[in-house]
């Protein structure tokens, strides 16, 4: 058991910085409301160090709180695919040659109305990202990047057509939970067509966590700082795992 608390400059002093807006005018009552709210979150002490009017009806607060809440770090499990274990491009190709013995087919797209292709391009395009080549450069992988604003239906049809092993879905816009709707629809469509088990389904984007993706029915989710190596490693290992299971 290793209890940890937030830290300012002394162990367990519990210091936390917060800032937020309240839908009330700035002033002494607003500041007191801010304090009460922070205390209501269970903070033991709260100092409202700054307040300012944002308009006649809204006000802004900067606050330092002190929390006694602790969590047991020993029980914390990382909600991320372990990237440290990722193989390099060469290792992945070698792995495919050894264990899969045919080309692995990967299809990716930025789905729904999302047009943020830079992320999926970083994973798939030749050029890659931050000196990590993309899947197109992997000799043992056949990669199809369908680009932006691809309807789920179309993506699935294409994956069926090219006999994809894995489908990559990129979702960047999260406002109004549009990513959740899109991702859910994707899985539901697959299930409706009885195709869910045919593919390894991977979601990615700056606000996508592994936990969320898995909850929505994907095999994995990848967030910011992902490279092609990480995704490729996951796919090939999973493929072998699936082959063994069946």
């Amino acid at each position: 058991m290793k209890l940890i608390r937030t830290y300012g400059d002394t162990l367990d002093d519990g210091k936390v910085q917060l800032s937020f807006t309240l839908p009330v005018p700035d002033g002494a009552r607003g500041r007191e409301a801010a304090r009460k709210l922070v205390l209501a979150w269970g903070f033991k002490e709260c100092e409202v160090v700054h307040s300012a009017p944002l308009s006649e009806e809204f006000s802004f607060y900067v606050v330092y709180g002190k929390s006694e809440t602790a969590i047991d770090f020993d029980t914390v499990e990382a909600d991320e695919i372990d990237k440290d274990a990722s193989m390099s491009m060469d290792e992945v190709n070698e792995f495919i040659r050894q264990h899969i013995k045919r080309k692995v087919v990967v299809v990716g797209a930025c789905t729904g109305f999302d047009a943020h292709t830079v992320g999926i391009d970083a994973i798939m395009n030749m050029k890659g990202y931050n000196h990590h080549y993309g899947l197109e450069r992997y000799p043992e992988i056949e990669a199809y990047n369908l680009g932006a604003q691809v309807p789920n239906e179309k993506l699935i049809d294409f994956a069926v057509k090219v006999k994809a092993d894995a489908i990559l879905v990129s979702q960047v816009v999260t406002q109004k939970d549009t990513h959740i709707h899109n991702m859910t629809e994707f899985i539901e469509l697959l299930e409706a067509k009885n195709l869910r088990d045919r593919f390894i389904c991977i979601a990615g984007g700056p606000r996508i966590g592994n936990k969320l993706a898995v909850e929505l029915g994907f095999d994995a989710g990848f967030g910011r700082g992902t490279y092609a190596d990480d995704v490729a490693t996951f796919i090939v290992k999973k493929l072998v795992e699936k082959a063994q299971a069946s």
């Binding site: 807006t21 308009s55 809204f58 802004f60 999302d114 047009a115 292709t117 830079v118 604003q149 406002q175």
Partner: protein, 522 residues
């Protein structure tokens, strides 16, 4: 303007000349064509408005009716059929709109007397353009009345809640905090709709639908703040995408003050057909020019997908092309808000100097243009503190090079569309720095052979080389071969190609004619 970079005038002139040569053949193509949205924009200027029960707008219904009757009829222009219906039914535009929305087909009436149609049309031209002229006069009056109360550069803030009523709250707060310009960000993917939604809307993703009613609601709200703050608050939206000219028309009618509008953005970044885009942009710009609306071009987009240091010349090249296409559509320099952006990798040594060089270069090459400067976006991360500091450097460069329109950076750029407090922090940052370095622009000089000066010369040289290449093969082919933004766009590919219309010998469009005449377009 202060000359600090000593760029050779003859080289600048040469670059401009190249851009003009590149644009000219495209201009000839444009003049021979119209498009479904040009026709719909014309209808809107004439008063066509409203939508049917399925939400299909009246202008679309009219164009579709003509097309359904006989696609070949489109070459005569569509407005003639709308006017004909007006005359034949004896209805007002409002009444006719309602009738069309309920199912009435303008093609059910035979075409009447041409001269009556022309007369009626001239009446509507006078009315439609008159309204726009009035808007323009009103804006000029307010700018005059509250002269000197706006920030320099203009502080430009976005709202993007998706809900026009929530947007209004945010916009008012932003204006009170100090914004001069409010841009209502459009919902994801509206650019690819080949119609403009109707009415007030409360559901959008990453932005709010651009509709005429939404324009009206926001305009009214900002007019209120204008009076309270005694500072004319400008309103911005997007005359961009498949409905470029229609949105220009709506904006002109509802007194928007700026429009995002680029001659090639749709082609490169939205995969809209190139012919369609060039045709649309011209008509939209004529409307903007007539309405006194400043356009904001989209050069920043080149840098969100490619490197800002390496590809700086693509920005200048695009600015020069946007300028020529602007001139061709009657836009004077002072309405050409050419874009550029602070998108250099923050880890580059001397990155600030390069940004300064590029911003100053834009200033010197486009001395009368209200340059629009975009903040860091690509290299913003979840580290809001680092992001805030990057924004402060951006604010610095903008003021230090005397930019015209300053889009405020948000410390949460990599996280979410702006919270109300994010905007406050942004305005506070900009106001502090800009006041603190008020006369920096006049007070400092660059070393003659220094890094800044050399950088600007280098970018100009590269731009010229690039433009020479484009000029040699022609713009359409250059785009097809992927010379711009690293994307290849086939000439007859892309969205909206089917909406291109070749004008026939009988093409009828008194709005276009009148605009050309008043704008002194050859």
């Amino acid at each position: 303007m202060r000359i600090k970079l000593h760029l050779p005038k003859d080289r600048i002139d040469y670059a401009r000349q190249l851009a003009k040569q590149i644009a000219a053949p495209v201009g000839a193509f444009i003049d021979a064509h119209s498009s479904v949205t040009v026709e719909r924009a014309t209808l809107r200027l004439a008063g066509a408005d409203g939508a049917n029960a399925d939400g299909v707008p009246v202008p679309n219904l009219v164009v579709d009716q003509v097309k359904a009757a006989d696609p070949a009829l489109l070459e005569d222009g569509v407005i003639i059929r709308y006017i004909n219906a007006l005359i034949k039914t004896g209805l007002s535009t409002q009444e006719l709109n309602k009738k069309i929305a309920e199912g009435f087909n303008v093609m059910s009436l035979p075409l009447g007397d041409r001269s009556a149609i022309e007369a009626k049309c001239n009446e509507l031209v006078a009315q439609g353009l008159g309204k726009i002229k009035d808007n323009r006069a009103y804006r000029d009056k307010k700018l005059e009345e509250f002269h000197d109360r706006n920030n320099k550069p203009l502080l430009y803030l976005i709202v993007a809640t998706g809900n026009i009523y929530e947007d209004v709250k945010q916009a008012k707060a932003a204006a009170k905090q100090g914004a001069d310009v409010i841009a209502v960000i459009r919902t994801t993917a509206q650019s690819l709709l080949d119609y403009v939604p109707y009415g007030a809307t409360t559901e959008g993703f990453g932005g709010t639908y651009a509709t005429q009613e939404n324009f009206r609601i926001m305009r009214a709200a900002l007019d209120e703040v204008t009076e309270q703050e005694k500072r004319y608050i400008m309103l911005t939206n997007y005359a961009s995408g498949l409905c470029m000219p229609e949105i220009a028309a709506m904006g002109a009618l509802e007194r928007l003050d700026m429009m995002l509008n680029d001659s090639m953005y749709g082609i490169l970044f939205r995969d809209i057909n190139m012919y369609r885009t060039f045709v649309d942009q011209k008509f939209s710009r004529m409307i903007n020019a007539y309405a006194g609306i400043i356009i904001n071009t989209g050069e920043d987009n080149y840098l969100t997908t490619s490197d800002a240091y390496e590809k700086a010349y693509t920005v200048l090249a695009s600015q020069l092309l946007n300028e020529q296409f602007g001139f061709m559509a009657g836009l004077p320099a002072r309405l050409l808000g050419l874009g550029h952006a602070f998108e250099m990798d923050p880890s580059i040594k001397n990155g600030f100097l390069y940004e300064l060089a590029q911003a100053q270069m834009a200033r010197e090459i486009f001395p009368e243009h209200p340059l629009k400067y975009m903040p860091p976006t690509k290299f913003m991360s979840g580290d809001i503190f680092k992001g805030l500091v990057m924004d402060s450097m951006f604010n610095f460069v903008s003021k230090a090079t005397n930019q015209g329109i300053h889009l405020l950076g948000m410390l949460t750029e990599a996280i979410h569309t702006p919270f109300m407090m994010d905007r406050y922090i942004a305005v506070d940052n900009a106001k502090y720095i800009m006041n603190n370095i008020e006369d920096f622009y006049d007070d400092i000089e660059f070393r003659k052979d220094g890094i800044i000066v050399r950088r600007a010369h280098e970018v100009l040289d590269k731009t010229i080389k690039f433009l020479e290449e484009v000029q040699a093969i022609g713009l359409f082919d250059a785009i097809e071969r992927g010379l711009f933004a690293d994307v290849k766009r086939p000439k007859d590919g892309g969205k909206g190609f089917e909406g291109l219309i070749k004008k026939g010998p009988q093409y009828f469009n008194p709005f276009e004619k009148q605009l050309k005449q008043e704008l002194n377009i050859k």
